[in-house]
């Protein structure tokens, strides 16, 4: 994974637009957040291999970045993205790594399902 270059990532997002894609979206504060701090309100969401088509997508912000994908009748977005890269299947991986090196958010797009 490399620090996000917005122009580069925009180009990649454009490349998947208008085609059927598989999507992984995840936010997490970790399963131990409320154990270490009982006042912490633990929340997260996860979707893997959602099959959808987005009309267009956009990366915005000065870093950490936000990415939004406009669907025919809905939206997908993620915020806090810091890094991007590819897996061995050529899926586009975008992730937000916090100051301690822990994953906080992931948005991934591919033309084939994630394993």
């Amino acid at each position: 994974m490399e620090p996000i270059l917005p122009d580069k990532v925009q180009e990649l997002i454009d490349r998947f637009a208008g085609e059927e894609i598989y999507l992984h979206l995840e936010t997490t504060n970790g399963a131990y957040a409320s154990h270490f701090n009982e006042k912490f309100f633990s929340a997260g969401a996860y979707i893997r291999n959602a099959k959808l088509i987005y009309e267009h997508g956009k990366i915005v912000g000065d870093g950490p970045y936000r990415v939004g994908l406009k669907l025919e009748i809905g939206w997908v977005y993620a915020e806090g993205l810091t890094h991007y890269g590819f897996d061995e299947d050529g899926h586009l991986l975008m992730a937000g790594h916090d100051f301690d090196g822990k994953l906080a958010v992931a948005l991934q797009i591919g033309k084939t399902p994630f394993k």
Partner: protein, 236 residues
Amino acid sequence: MKTMEVEQERHVLVIFPHPDDEAFGVSGTIAIHTGRETPVTYACLTLGEMGRNLGNPPFATRESLPDIRKAELKKAAEAIGIQDLRMMGLRDKTLEFEDDQKMMDLVTDLIHELDPSLIITFYPGYSVHPDHEATARAVVRAVRAIEENKRPKLHCVAFANNTLEEIGPADIHYDIRHVYDQKMDAMKAHISQTIWMLKDLESGVAQEGSELHDRFNYEHFWTYTFDENDKVSEIK
């Protein structure tokens, strides 16, 4: 705290959901069993696919982490002499959403095959992570279904903040200092998960009496009893 001798077992079955669960809490005890040539089977239910320690700058991605953790798990198993490591193929953070009967059957099948005299897992209700809890419930249900005089012993690990006040202190304490190196090797094998703790350890914070010091010198278990303390529900 009075430590005791580890009893001689016929076969030990260890069931945890994540690669590294075995290293933190029970790797010293496992090393003692394997050191006596007692067969130990470790059924690790997931590959810890949802681990968050990916680094910044990142050393892994959401997609590459499972293979990294699989390799770490094999290395850790080797460090503590586990001959029979089984990766059960479930997915991290999904166990509580799995079919409860399927989870129980998975444990029942292992018990039928291996006939363990001791099972080690988490203590239901006091093990914090939803996967730990789902694993513990499945094990308790599977063991509870066995006729009382044929049940293997069930030793559980508990670490929720309310453990002491609700179920009291552990009843089993092992001194694992003579297998310290093996435990340390198991911890080091899971480097993607343990690097922060190992850094703390090297910086000398592990003074006598600290939690970190205790972790590397003693291991503690709560014997599960199938009486009024058993709060695991029947499958609906």
